[in-house]
Each structure stands twice: as structure tokens, then as C-alpha cells.
């Protein structure tokens, strides 16, 4: 009897453990050998100017956070208005405002306050400047470095510097690859018809993952009462719900063409949208604009929605969902 009495709680624990293992879904995952508590990544340029900004996103439940893209020199960016809204999303044209690499190196020199991986992002007009930035960022504790070759609204950068081609992608990624052993993420633009070739070029040149997508377009919103485009720069990149179907299709296409993982990004508002991108083939999913709608804990909210859906439908892990729409 004594024997049994002691054994009971032990059995119970085991039972609870097995029960939990069998029935409770987990959101844990990994990207380029970096483990993440959930697949949600704060998109570059949204918050991310300062460590404090990023801490806020961490507190809001992000699985990883990305800094705002930094350039060699300080840039104050385009004049305001930098954003314009329409009923299905928004346009932005900040023009890569950022304090420059020197300030960024100071701001992000100590990342010990982060419990989640911090991803760097840098932008330049040519391959050698990209390489310089990557070399500098390599020295800090970033988990990975993202190269946005796809901004649609900053003269001298991204698409407006002709970076949205397989050739330019190859050149830039190769130059950066020499400067770091950290995972390199290449951010592309789903607006382009040749994304498959661009992603393949990045993969061949040594990129470790593709982020798809930057803002689309560009687009324009005209305020008819003043007869003027709202944005000071007139045009801006489209983000939010409006772009999600195009991003889903792009991720779906890339999943068939490349072997490196994909970060799906664009128009995610809810946990169900995260799952949609995972099923299309994304390994992780970025969130930006949704913060304006659902607050800084949108990550937490999406996680709750994902867990509820996974429980209801009997999925236990993120891995089961990735690429499921291809089957």
C-alpha cells in the first residue's frame, strides 16, 4: 500500500506530461539554427529605432525583433507626411531615416537585455557599402543580419537603386557573405515578377533565408480635397491587409523554388494569417503594420489565436504547418 500511495502522484505527473505533450500545441521553432519561442518577428522599420523600441516588442510577445534598417550615414529621411492610410492598409515613405551606423553601433552594443534574438538590418546604395555595414554589425550580438534589397520609396536605395534584380542581389550578397558568418537574410519585394530568380540568386550567393516581402508598389493616395498626394514623397510602399494575398502567393512560389527558409511578411493581422503564411511555406512570419491596429502586444494576441486554432484542429507544432498548402 505504502508503495502504491507514493507511486500515484508520480504516475499522475507522467500522465499530465504525456497529456500536455499530446494535446498542447507548441509555438517553438527555429530559423537558421536560432531557436525562437514563437515564429513571429517584428518587421524591420517598425519600431526598431532604439533598444527601448525593441524591448517593447519583446514585451508584446515577439519571438524575434529586427532593428530599423541602418545606413552608413545619418539620414533624416523624407519630410512628413511619411504615412498615408486607405481603407485596406497604409502607405509609408520614411525614406530610410536612421541615425547612421556609428550611432547604431552604440545603441545596440549591449543586447544582454533581450531574451529573444535581435536581427540587424542595413541598407546601402552599393555592394561595397553593404559589406562595410555588415562588417560593422557582425561585431555585435545580433542573431542575424537582414539586407533589404527591396525598398520601393528611397532614391539611391533598394528598388530605386536597381537592387531588385538577380544580378544586383548576387553581387551584394556575395560581398556581404565575405564579412560575416552570421545568418544573412535577404529581403525581397513581392511586387517584382522575377522574385524566384532573385531568391535563387541570393541562395546561391550564400544567403541563409529570404524575407518576403517588403512593402509593395509603390502606391499613391491623393487627398481629393486638396488635390495633392498625401505623402510628401508622393509615393510610398503599401503594407497591411491589402498586400497579404500577393505575399502568400510569393511565399508559395518561393517555397517550391528555394531550399533556404522563408520569412513571410506582409499584411498579417491575426493568428490565422500567420498560419496561412506558414502553410504557404514560410518558416517564420513578420509583423509590422498590425501594430497600428492591434497594439504592441499584437504578437501575444496572434500567438493566442494560433494556439486556439492549433488545439481545435489537432496540430502540435509549427513544423507541421509549414508548407502544408502544397500537399
Amino acid at each position: 500500500m505504502q508503495h502504491l500511495k507514493e507511486a500515484t502522484p508520480c504516475f499522475l505527473n507522467l500522465f499530465i506530461f504525456i497529456f500536455g505533450w499530446v494535446f498542447l500545441p507548441s509555438l517553438e521553432t527555429e530559423l537558421c539554427n536560432v531557436s525562437l519561442k514563437n515564429p513571429l518577428i517584428l518587421a524591420s522599420g517598425v519600431l526598431g529605432l532604439s533598444k527601448n523600441n525593441l524591448l517593447r516588442a519583446q514585451r508584446g510577445g515577439a519571438g524575434a525583433v529586427t532593428i530599423k534598417s541602418v545606413s552608413l550615414e545619418e539620414r533624416s529621411g523624407h519630410e512628413t507626411p511619411n504615412i498615408a492610410f486607405f481603407e485596406a492598409g497604409m502607405l509609408n515613405a520614411f525614406g530610410y531615416c536612421n541615425p547612421g551606423i556609428e550611432e547604431a553601433l552604440k545603441e545596440f552594443s549591449d543586447l544582454s537585455c533581450f531574451e529573444v534574438p535581435v536581427i540587424a538590418s542595413c541598407t546601402a546604395s552599393n555592394a561595397s557599402d553593404f559589406a562595410k555595414l555588415v562588417e560593422a554589425l557582425d561585431k555585435l550580438d545580433f542573431a542575424a543580419i537582414e539586407l533589404p534589397l527591396s525598398c520601393p520609396h528611397t532614391p539611391g536605395y533598394g528598388l530605386l537603386a536597381g537592387q531588385g534584380t538577380p544580378e544586383a542581389t548576387k553581387e551584394i550578397v556575395e560581398a556581404c557573405r565575405k564579412k560575416t558568418k552570421k545568418p544573412l537574410l535577404v529581403k525581397i519585394n513581392a511586387s517584382l515578377p522575377r522574385i524566384g530568380e532573385i531568391a535563387l540568386a541570393a541562395e546561391k550567393a550564400g544567403a541563409n533565408a529570404i524575407t518576403c516581402s517588403n512593402t509593395l508598389g509603390p502606391g499613391m493616395v491623393i487627398d481629393i480635397n486638396s488635390t495633392k498626394p498625401v505623402l510628401a514623397f508622393k509615393v510610398g510602399g503599401v503594407s497591411g491587409p491589402a498586400i497579404r494575398p500577393i505575399v502568400v502567393r510569393s511565399v508559395y512560389d518561393l517555397y517550391k523554388r528555394i531550399k533556404i527558409p522563408i520569412i513571410g511578411l506582409g499584411g498579417v493581422l491575426r493568428g490565422e494569417h500567420v498560419i496561412e503564411l506558414l502553410m504557404a511555406g514560410a518558416s517564420c512570419v513578420g509583423i509590422g503594420t498590425a501594430i497600428a491596429l492591434r497594439g504592441h502586444n499584437v504578437f501575444e494576441k496572434c500567438c493566442d489565436e494560433m494556439l486556439a486554432w492549433m488545439k481545435k484542429h489537432g496540430y502540435k507544432s509549427i513544423g507541421e504547418l509549414i508548407g502544408l498548402a502544397h500537399e
Binding site: 517598425v46 519600431l47 526598431g48 529605432l49 532604439s50 527601448n52 523600441n53 524591448l55 517593447r56 514585451r59 530599423k68 545619418e74 539620414r75 533624416s76 529621411g77 519630410e79 512628413t80 507626411p81 511619411n82 504615412i83 498615408a84 492610410f85 486607405f86 481603407e87 485596406a88 492598409g89 497604409m90 509609408n92 520614411f94 531615416c97 536612421n98 541615425p99 547612421g100 550611432e103 545603441e107 487627398d223 480635397n225 486638396s226 495633392k228 498625401v230 510628401a232 497591411g240 509590422g288 503594420t289 501594430i291 497600428a292 491596429l293 497594439g295 504592441h296
Partner: protein, 265 residues
């Protein structure tokens, strides 16, 4: 209506302009809007820029008080009645005054814009208000009649040309010694607010402060307006004394247009 719809630019033509002081004009705008005192709107002048301004009037029409500082406000000052402005908002968290009976309001310069509607609302809620308003000189005194109607107004000028000579924080010390307040509200230059915050701490008085930071998006996305982990456009502009006492940046740092962190002098 989602946040996207809410943030579309609305036509807000200038109905009336008044030169209140040599450096301050008020603009009444033809758009209807409700907002809590302390909330702000983004004001767009096409082909120039878009900047944040507190609402000093809401309802069928709205109004803002603008102090001439740099490029944008200079352009605003050149406009005539009938000119086009666009607005979006209101944004941010305003002041709160649940359960208070007697309060002290401290305004420095154009900071009074954030507090004038508050004083009026407090009066409507039968709260007794001591309003200390500091200005540089007599000609800069703003909203005297409006505030006298609803509060005990104590005007202070730095050069003594009107009211008491001195700065707000000195005078405030006296008020705090002589009165029992339930809460204090403050808006003005940040270093003045730091002093007021210290006094509040000393007198163990709860307070709310309207803080300014460089703003671009006003919807919590760009990170430009950050104060510690908060975003002034979304978590503020009104912060509680408890929050600010924990802050490492209040009174010390802000971020310029490029996002560069610089010290406040």
C-alpha cells in the same frame, strides 16, 4: 471603423485665425471631432509637412494654438482664413480626472494649449482648480480670460512684466505648501516639467504630464517618439508621475528626426 479608416486625412479648412500674442496664433478649423483634453491631431499643410498639435477646442469645429518656432509653424502663420489644412486623429491618451476634488495645473509657455480644455472640463466636473501659468513676458500671456472663467489663475512672468515674477516651479512650491491637492497636471518645457515632477514626489502628489517628442506617424509604428519603452503618440502624450519617475529618458534624451538620441539641454 478600423484604425486605417480613422487615420485618413480629413479636410479641415481654416475658419478663423486669431493672433493671440506676438508668437502665438489660434486657428479654428472646419471639421467636427471629439477628443479628451490632452489628445492631439496631426495637422497637414500640403507640400509643406505634417505636425502634431493639441486640440484647444473640439466639437462641431476644432481649434489649435500654434507657437511660431521653425519652418512649419512659419508657413502656418502665413495662411489666411479659407486655406486648406488636413487633419488626422485624434491620437494619444488624454488626461484623467476621476475622483478628484481640488487640483493644481501648471503650464509653461505654449504648454498651456494642452491644459486649457482640461481646466474647462475640470470646472464642469465641479473640481476646484488652481492654475499656475508661466510666460516669458507680459505680451506672451495666453488664454487669460478663458482660464479665469474656470479656475483661479496665477500668472507668472520671467521678467515680472505681469503677475508674479519668477518661474512656475518656484511659485508651485508655495502653492503645494499651502494647499492639499488631489492631483496635479502639467505641460511645458521638459526641464520645467522635471522640476515639477520632483516637487510632486516631495509632496507625495499624484500628477499627469503632457510630454512632447518628435513625431512622424502618430500611430505607434515608426518608433520616433519613444520615451523609454513608451511611444508618446500612443502611450502618451499624457503620462503619470509614477511612469515618469521610472523613466530614464524623461528630461534627459529625445530622438531627432533621423532617430538619433540626443541630450535635452
Amino acid at each position: 471603423m478600423n484604425e486605417f479608416e480613422r487615420s485618413r486625412v480629413r479636410e479641415a479648412r481654416i475658419l478663423k485665425i486669431e493672433q493671440e500674442t506676438p508668437t502665438v496664433k489660434t486657428f479654428e478649423l472646419g471639421v467636427s471631432l471629439d477628443a479628451v483634453p490632452g489628445q492631439f491631431v496631426m495637422v497637414w499643410l500640403p507640400r509643406v509637412a505634417e505636425k502634431p498639435f493639441t486640440l484647444i477646442k473640439t466639437g462641431n469645429t476644432i481649434a489649435i494654438a500654434v507657437k511660431k518656432r521653425g519652418g512649419f509653424t512659419e508657413k502656418l502663420f502665413q495662411l489666411n482664413e479659407g486655406s486648406y489644412l488636413g487633419i488626422r486623429g485624434p491620437y494619444g491618451k488624454g488626461f484623467s480626472w476621476g475622483g478628484v476634488k481640488k487640483v493644481c495645473v501648471v503650464a509653461g509657455g505654449i504648454g498651456i494649449a494642452a491644459l486649457v480644455r482640461l481646466a474647462e472640463e475640470l470646472a464642469k466636473s465641479k473640481v476646484s482648480v488652481d492654475f499656475i501659468a508661466g510666460f516669458r513676458t507680459k505680451s506672451e500671456v495666453l488664454f487669460k480670460e478663458r482660464i479665469e472663467n474656470v479656475a483661479n489663475l496665477h500668472i507668472i512672468t520671467e521678467d515680472g512684466s505681469f503677475g508674479t515674477k519668477g518661474i512656475c516651479s518656484d511659485v508651485l512650491m508655495d502653492f503645494l505648501k499651502k494647499n492639499e491637492y488631489d492631483k496635479l497636471y502639467c505641460c511645458g518645457p521638459e526641464l520645467m516639467m522635471v522640476k515639477v515632477l520632483k516637487l510632486c514626489k516631495k509632496f507625495n502628489l499624484k500628477a499627469e504630464f503632457a510630454v512632447e517628442r518628435y513625431m512622424k506617424c502618430a500611430v505607434g509604428l515608426c518608433g520616433q517618439c519613444c520615451l523609454d519603452e513608451w511611444l508618446v503618440c500612443r502611450d502618451g502624450p499624457v503620462f503619470s508621475s509614477e511612469q515618469l519617475l521610472k523613466s530614464k529618458e524623461f528630461g534627459k534624451f529625445y530622438y531627432t528626426k533621423s532617430g538619433k538620441k540626443v541630450a535635452i539641454q
